[in-house]
């Protein structure tokens, strides 16, 4: 039983495959443009954006950032151990990755509940319109990422070292993409205004 080797130095085979990287760039540009539009809109209502930003709990945002970073670390470890054919360690780190994602969603759910309770819904003002649209769109990606990781976990448990490395790397790349998007969302929404 050998794990297939992919030459990532080949321009057509970045880690995870070229298709997932096309998706990653489309997603990054989509979120990037939305964030630029948000900053542009803030020029019309700087006071609204500043006061609204102060209504957010940046500690929750920072803790969620740490959840995703640690989760990304576990994902990288899982891929590393899978390549070494240390399947039990790969499975363990994959479970920890999923746990990190669930903790992120749990804290995000608490934050959303808090905001709805206080009446800061999507129509409250333009800052909160951006807040809800961008963070909810990101949460959908995290949910999809968790489903993909659960499928990968089941695949590894069933097939062991015979599971496809390319699929695992592509799943990992999707998960890291959620991390990349959040790394840019966090300062723009929670810190700079």
């Amino acid at each position: 039983m050998t794990t297939e080797r992919i030459d990532n130095k080949n321009i057509y085979y970045p880690p995870g495959g070229i298709l997932i990287w096309i998706i990653i760039f489309i997603e990054l540009f989509t979120f990037g443009i939305a964030m630029i539009v948000m900053v542009y809109s803030s020029k019309d209502e700087p006071e609204v954006f500043h006061n609204s930003r102060l209504l957010l709990n940046s500690t929750i945002g920072a803790v969620n950032t740490l959840f995703l970073i640690v989760s990304g670390f576990c994902m990288a470890q899982s891929v590393h151990f899978f390549k070494q054919q240390a399947i039990s360690k790969a499975s363990l780190f994959l479970k920890l990755t999923i746990l990190g994602g669930l903790l992120f969603l749990g804290l995000k759910g608490f934050e959303y509940y808090d905001k709805i309770e206080m009446g800061y819904s999507i129509g409250y003002n333009s800052f909160f319109s951006f807040y809800w649209m961008l963070t909810l769109f990101h949460v959908i990606h995290v949910l999809v990422g968790i489903v993909i990781l659960i499928m990968m976990y089941l695949d590894i448990r069933k097939k062991g070292a015979e599971a496809s490395l390319e699929n695992i790397e592509a799943s990992a790349a999707f998960w890291h993409m959620c991390d990349l998007i959040w790394i840019l969302l966090f300062p723009v929404i929670y810190l700079i205004f």
Partner: protein
């Protein structure tokens, strides 16, 4: 494996630093926070996603994206 641990520590330190810097209101606060975010972005992409081992074009494309994202925000802000 050691590479991942070093990356994790650096990312955690940069996240804490961003939160600390955000408490100070200066002309450069937003710039510093966004640059720190850019460094974290590259850290995740290059080391956790193993892009450091990929063809140079992919690494350059990611830096170009970061420039296209950060420069307009810094100009508009």
């Amino acid at each position: 494996m050691k590479r991942f641990i070093i990356t994790l520590v650096v990312l955690v330190v940069l996240t804490i630093l961003s939160a600390v810097v955000s408490n100070y209101s200066t002309n450069y606060t937003a710039t510093i926070i966004l640059i720190l975010a850019g460094l974290k972005f590259l850290g995740i992409a290059y080391y956790f996603m193993d892009l450091i081992k990929a063809h140079v074009v992919w690494r350059i494309m990611l830096v170009i994206f970061l420039g296209l994202f950060l420069i307009p925000i810094l100009i508009l802000y």
